[in-house]
Symmetry: C2
Subunit: 177 residues, 2 copies
């Protein structure tokens, strides 16, 4: 079935967190197409559930969509870091909680038409207080909601970040809630 | 709360389906940051359910992730096209079915850290046969699965496209299945 052949991958621009390439692809009908390719280092995210059953969410400004977005804690992989370690680190840095037990939920690609960004998504029901440790240029506020509230936000459009929608609905399904 | 200020948006490269910009942002602490921004025209997708209750899926090669990916029918907006019209058009072009009744499910942004790609996601239970009409350079095969099979694929990792995961789990939740 694999009748696509990459003839060339040309570097166009190295950005802050992504790199733009132009790929030259030979299609199954032998036509040559130029396709955009965005290289991303990968990321991890986590659904943190507190002792009251509420999910700890972060709200932050997202320049690309020009608004404050309500999301699960997440962040890009450090060099050499595996996804689970990254999820635990971002949890602590962004929310000020550590987890003693993190479980895998799902993995996803954010936008397969042009980007290889892959996010490993985890969940935890076992949190202990630690210290929030944001980057100097990171401004995040914490909010807590029940699963039912978050599901309502998804259908109302109050939550519209794909990794957060996928994670919340996958957690709901996995837990049979 | 809105203490971010965009000082400049510099065009870096206009690709085939996306455009790369470098944004200069004044942060709440008055530091200046350079952030990547990918402009995308937007897209639409649909969960098409046939008379046997099976969901019609498309499998296609995705260069960015170097594999054949199982997804719901989807595609980019044509100039001036609204999301619902786009979803109905892509349904017919990719699967060969038309819908007489399309309902809104959710909207999402695929990757909020650097891109404004927004996808409107719909569903339909009312399909009538029409004609598949792929672009010359588009190679897509059709597969049909039950909702239960697709949910299993999400947790197994056989489905890992974010719009498809969000759409299938949102459909499951909306229908109370």
């Amino acid at each position: 079935m694999d009748k696509y052949k990459r003839l060339k991958r040309e570097l166009i621009h190295k950005g802050q967190i992504i790199t733009f390439y132009e790929d030259h692809i030979e299609l199954p009908n032998k036509n040559i197409a130029k396709w955009d390719f965005i290289e991303h280092k990968g990321a991890a995210a986590i659904v943190p559930v507190d002792e009251d059953g509420k999910i700890i969410m972060v709200r932050q400004y997202r320049n690309a969509i020009e608004k404050w977005s309500l999301e699960i804690p997440a962040g890009g992989l450090n060099p050499g870091e595996d996804m689970k370690t990254c999820a635990m680190r971002e949890l602590e840095e962004e929310t000020g909680y550590k987890s003693t037990k993190v479980e895998h939920l799902i993995d996803l690609y954010t936008t397969v038409a042009f980007c290889n960004e892959r996010i490993g998504i985890y969940y935890t029901n076992e949190l202990v207080p630690s210290n929030q440790n944001l980057d100097e240029d990171e401004f995040v506020t914490i909010e807590r909601y029940t699963l039912e509230e978050l599901v309502k936000f998804i259908f109302d459009g109050e939550i519209d970040d794909a990794k957060t929608i996928s994670a919340i609905l996958a957690y709901k399904t996995k837990m049979g809630l």
